[in-house]
Symmetry: C2
Subunit: 427 residues, 2 copies
């Protein structure tokens, strides 16, 4: 990169929302923040905490729905596993000799059971069930927190020379099973936690690319880029907690992929440390016609080929306008046909999603209690849709939209989508 | 694909513009059609034939430019190699036994020198120089024209069992050297010509994908898709002559990639026959988050891993409007800065190219003699640009544009580009 394109001289040190000991802020046995969960008080549902828009508001429709549809007895409390104790799992499979070698690396580490357990799983239903009611057959023997690429090179070399297993760990939101420890694995297993390597190393504002360390968490990356006037635009549902390296290793898709692309469209370069050496391309061009593109073998490799340490990503200026929209359809088929026409005309906005009737209803069920005026407006809308347009509440579905760009672009895009939707009875 | 999405029942048999014996229509020792070349008559340059817009028109500026800039003596004629004779090259390195096995495949073949020579090279300057003034050290021993995937399977099996080399050959426009025969190759070399497998096997008009055999030539593919109301949109400069399989094998880029993407964006599926078996994905979804994407190893493999036989490509409805435009800049730097701003705002039209001053001048030099009225309009434009705007003819450069879409889209896009250009002194 020419020096004149550089937005800043020293790497940006990023203070992550997620602490090094993740269990201090996040649930050790469930999704997300400890302070954010559904609770019942006096038979009425709430969502705790102030992090989300439904925080601490009454959700009057939720409890009745949970009781009638999911057939749950709210008086019967679940008894979950306690926080794991040191005695719950066998000591790490590490000889004294190996442990000394690992200590000599001078890289922060832990052999505490809780640190090992929270890195023994992703976030599948099975994982959460085991955390709440069961026990993992195998957990990592040691957690290492490298501070950057060079630390990773040292770890991979040591592991290779001493027949140890490395499982890279970023945000821990995987649903592919790739962070699970194989049950019968007798070799020592290192959980290589990337989250302490999370700097933005450089940003080229002319070529609109940024180089980041792989452990940066989605929300941290987006916040820091926003401060500099840019956005990455990659928003998988996990993006509050998942890491850049994880996006690459799992070939992630984001909800704004129509505008920004999936991770394979955003990725320009990637550095991966393997036991056979470093895999990287040295040119800075975004595309080569010569030969296979091995970035596409790294993407989706799920940590099986090496440890991703640095990623060069495309970035864009923050869009001036970000506007949400929604369209109600008579039934799912109308919605699908509208989606097809939008695809045919290739005019998808940043995000466009079609919810079926169940999802539509659930959206209404988790709506907070509204103010008096809101109720009146909602009531009028409901009358319009169900009485005048004669939509059937048990068939209706909704399309949610997100438009991004400058005012004119967004207007043109909105008009186009709403015009298409109208031809499919969309309201 | 659901049967209801199928645009036609039987595969579309495509009559290619390019004949099986390519030298009947194409230059055996140069680019393109035999009837299309620059000639000098009475000291004035013409371009022969009616295929292109400059066909058979006087090009009054060309000869003086060639003489003064390229320092060429038009009275001195080049003496080129004659069409190669049978005696010019050694007989094919094929034992009687192998030849009999090949004949038993019952696939059309040739061992004629001319058929082998025209498939011994791509279209680099070096290739053309050898054709005109030299001789190839090694040419294929036999040309085979399989009629479809099953024929290719048979050929690859036979070659694998008998230690023969296969070099796949499509349009012959390669500039990577991959169709060259290695000089010291002692094993028999088969040139596998894909051009006789060029059907459109199916077209799914709802999901907007089409499956084609790999030998279909760009102009044939586009013409046939257009007849059905669709376009592929991939237009590498070679697209009159290059093949779909070649685009995939060489990871081609097209001039309308801003709208349609490069070949890696258009490709959904690909079938490749390798000595170890068939490489293909069986699902019809365009994208998978699971695992590496081996399509990206096939793309750019240049025939080294196997023979591409079928390709599923994204297609689109033919755009309603296709409009060209151009903008003149004071100098190249202004042009580059304008390009950067267009990239920053991500509003590239289908094609946007910046020509430097040399290219700009050359564009004027190959302009045909114009009519009286055209001369007056051109003269006025020239006065406006050089006298009123005070642009220097030795610094000016030009941006060429192609807009595609519906009338409104094109208008919005044009306005946006011309507005940006105006801020960089673009006219």
């Amino acid at each position: 990169m020419p020096a004149s394109n550089q937005k800043f001289t020293d790497p940006v040190i990023v203070k992550s929302v997620i602490p090094k000991h993740r269990q201090d802020l996040l649930k050790w046995n469930g999704w997300g923040y400890k302070d954010s969960q559904f609770v019942i008080r006096d038979g009425v549902a709430y969502f705790t905490g102030q992090r989300y828009s439904i925080g601490n508001l009454t959700l009057p429709h939720l409890a009745p729905w949970v009781i009638s549809v999911l057939n749950i007895d709210l008086n019967k409390y679940n008894v979950f596993n306690d926080l794991p104790k040191e005695s719950d799992y066998p000591p790490p499979k590490l000889t004294k000799e190996i442990y000394e070698k690992l200590e000599k690396l001078n890289i922060p580490h832990s052999i505490k059971v809780i640190d090992r357990v929270v890195r023994a799983h992703g976030h599948t239903l099975k994982d959460i069930f085991i955390l709440k009611y069961g026990r993992f057959d195998r957990i990592p023997d040691l957690v290492l927190w490298p501070k950057g690429h060079d630390d990773v090179v040292k770890i991979v070399k040591l592991a290779d020379e001493n027949d140890m297993v490395i499982i890279p760990f970023g945000g821990g939101t995987a649903v592919s099973g790739a962070v699970e420890c194989p049950t019968g694995e007798d070799r020592p297993i290192i959980s290589l936690d990337t989250t302490q390597m999370n700097r933005i190393l450089w940003l080229d504002e002319k070529n609109l690319v940024a180089c980041c360390e792989s452990g940066i968490i989605g929300q941290d990356l987006e916040r820091e880029l926003n401060k500099l006037g840019f956005t990455c635009g990659h928003e998988p549902d996990s993006y509050e907690f998942s890491s850049l390296g994880g996006w690459v290793a799992t070939r992630a898709s984001g909800m704004k992929k129509n505008t920004y692309g999936n991770i394979e469209d955003l990725l320009v370069h990637v550095k991966m440390v393997t036991p056979k050496g470093l895999l990287q391309k040295n040119c800075q061009v975004p595309r080569l016609s010569c030969g296979p593109d091995f970035n596409h073998v790294i993407m989706g490799s799920e940590g099986s080929l090496g440890v991703i340490t640095e990623v060069v990503l495309k970035i864009r200026p923050v869009p001036k306008i970000r506007r949400y929209g929604s369209i109600i359809f008579y039934d799912f088929e109308d919605g699908v046909n509208c989606m097809r026409e939008v695809a045919r005309q290739r005019c998808q906005p940043a995000s466009i999603r079609l919810m079926d009737n169940d999802q539509f209803k659930f959206g209404l069920i988790v709506k907070p209690q509204s103010t008096f005026m809101e109720s009146i407006v909602d009531g009028l809308k409901k009358v319009y849709v169900t009485k005048i347009k004669k939509f059937d509440p048990d068939r209706m579905c909704v399309m949610t939209l997100l438009f991004e760009g400058d005012e004119n672009e967004v207007k043109v895009s909105e008009k186009r989508i709403y015009d298409i939707a109208a031809t499919f009875r969309g309201v």
